[in-house]
């Protein structure tokens, strides 16, 4: 029971934090995605026509929703956990009888919650531009949640290793953004030349976007089963690695 209370404390603190600064955390993705839908969907999309048999406006909805989940789940944990280290109030947790797995699940749930909330808000924005519904609820919800968890874990690992505020922006700017934009958010990889199509298959975000697209629209460039196994595998590996880092005290203990 005491671990449950500690877990709840971390999660509610995290949710309180990002809700307190909602103009920085919830509002910007709404503005950005509205612009995506307006420019790429309504204006340019009309000229593009269909993609994989789906109107272009509808086609980009899953990628844009998932992109918001990815960015927000990651950003929440990386900034919150690094600030906790930087301001040293990580010590409040380290001196308390809170096991590392509770710290891990607490922060990941907090980051995941932001990813999920922003994802839902963006999906609601998408509904004002399109008539997209959910074709496969199980797949859509599983991918949505697993992606939020996976990138919250990624944010935690980044924050553990970070020694400066520069370190928490390098991965999102120079690794995640290119992977997201080249992950089939705006196009099908079938449009790419064979070489680039094969290279794209090494991008894990491609699998998440396509699995989620299957969940919403029923179309995908890759096999959904492979994508689900891959995402779940990444979650397990990254969770194990994070736990090991916390256990060793990397970046948080001398």
């Amino acid at each position: 029971m005491k671990y449950w209370i500690a877990y709840q404390t971390i999660v509610s603190k995290e949710i309180r934090r990002f809700m307190r600064i909602w103009p920085q955390t919830i509002l910007p993705p709404v503005i950005t995605t509205s612009l995506y839908f307006l420019i790429f969907g309504t204006l340019i999309g009309r000229r593009i026509g269909d993609m994989n048999g789906v109107p272009y406006m509808d086609y980009i909805v899953p990628g844009i929703v998932l992109m918001s989940v990815i960015n927000n789940a990651y950003a929440n944990v990386v900034s919150s956990f690094y600030s906790t280290k930087f301001q040293r109030h990580i010590e409040e947790l380290l001196v308390a009888p809170v096991p590392n797995w509770v710290i891990l699940t607490g922060y990941v749930s907090g980051g995941g919650a932001r990813g999920v909330i922003v994802g839902i808000v963006v999906a609601l924005v998408a509904r004002t531009f399109t008539d997209v519904t959910i074709a496969h609820y199980g797949v859509a919800i599983t991918v949505f949640l697993l992606t939020a968890i996976l990138f919250a874990l990624g944010g935690l690992v980044n924050a553990i290793f970070a020694n400066s505020f520069d370190d928490i922006s390098i991965i999102p700017n120079f690794v995640m953004t290119p992977l997201v934009y080249l992950g089939g958010v705006f196009y099908t990889v079938d449009l790419l030349p064979e070489v680039w199509r094969k290279i794209s298959l090494a991008n894990p975000i491609l699998y998440m976007v396509n699995a989620f697209r299957y969940g919403l629209l029923g179309v995908s460039d890759i096999r959904v089963g492979t994508a689900l196994v891959m995402i779940a595998g990444f979650v397990v590996v990254l969770a194990g690695f994070s736990l090991w880092l916390l256990h060793r005290g990397v970046g948080i203990k001398n």
């Binding site: 209370i5 404390t9 040293r88 109030h89 001196v95 809170v98 001398n254």
Partner: protein, 309 residues
Amino acid sequence: MQALSIRGLKKTYRNGFEALKGIDLTVGAGDFFALLGPNGAGKSTAIGIITSLVNPTSGRVTVFGHDLIKAREAVKSCIGLVPQEINFNQFEKVKDIVVTQAGYYGIRRREATARAETALRQLHLWDRRNSVSRTLSGGMKRRLMIARALVHSPKLLILDEPTAGVDIEIRRSMWDFLRTINSAGTTIILTTHYLEEAESLCRNIAIIDHGRIVEHSEMSTLLTKLHTDSFVLDLKEPLQSLPKLADYTLEWIDVRTIAAEVPRGKGLNGLFRQLSEQGIEVISLRNKASRLEQLFMNLVETQQSAESR
């Protein structure tokens, strides 16, 4: 029952710096214990290990019988830490900081809120409970850290320089508060650079220097090791030369101020009588340094000269 027992504790940092070279330390339950030492002596490393903020290289630590490695959570539950640096979230409200800390110790929110109220009232912070913590004064921030450390009712409270930068009035009220909770049964370990503070509050003491314990005894036993007391005398008229006195040693501070070493058992009457006989009128007198400060300097200097040999 020992509140804290440390055996052969060593810590070598990755850069090769040996912060602790095998210290042994015992603190009895209910004690008010001073852990003193110059900057870089190893105090904060020792406290860091006891509170799980620093991983030890080797050695054994037990807190109220719980082994730090085998029963870390039990050890953590026994300890409240007031660190040297401000380490709470400066953007959170005062009450939230204390309630959150209680949550980490598995205390339900309703009870945590009640405990936070008690702790904040005790430390005269209840009126500021809804203030964002960064708006507090330095003294209030220190008191907030004490309230936070006490919210889970620890059996052992560790205070790492709790009164640094705090004005004398607040410092005295903090002393009173610490005496009260110690009387109620909480064991306290205090590190401070205000040796007057340690002398006034603590019953037992350890002095650490260069990663080694150089003194570990009762405060009263330690203070009896001093053979002299030092006083500063302000004179009515400037002196041309230092007078020679039987039994007492004088030294210049300036022409109207001299320092006098008074051997134990000699008292001050003889000093004043001899000065009067030489026509020297004293208008005021004060302690040159706290007795503990003098002893501390002696011990640390002895250790330093032993190290350099």
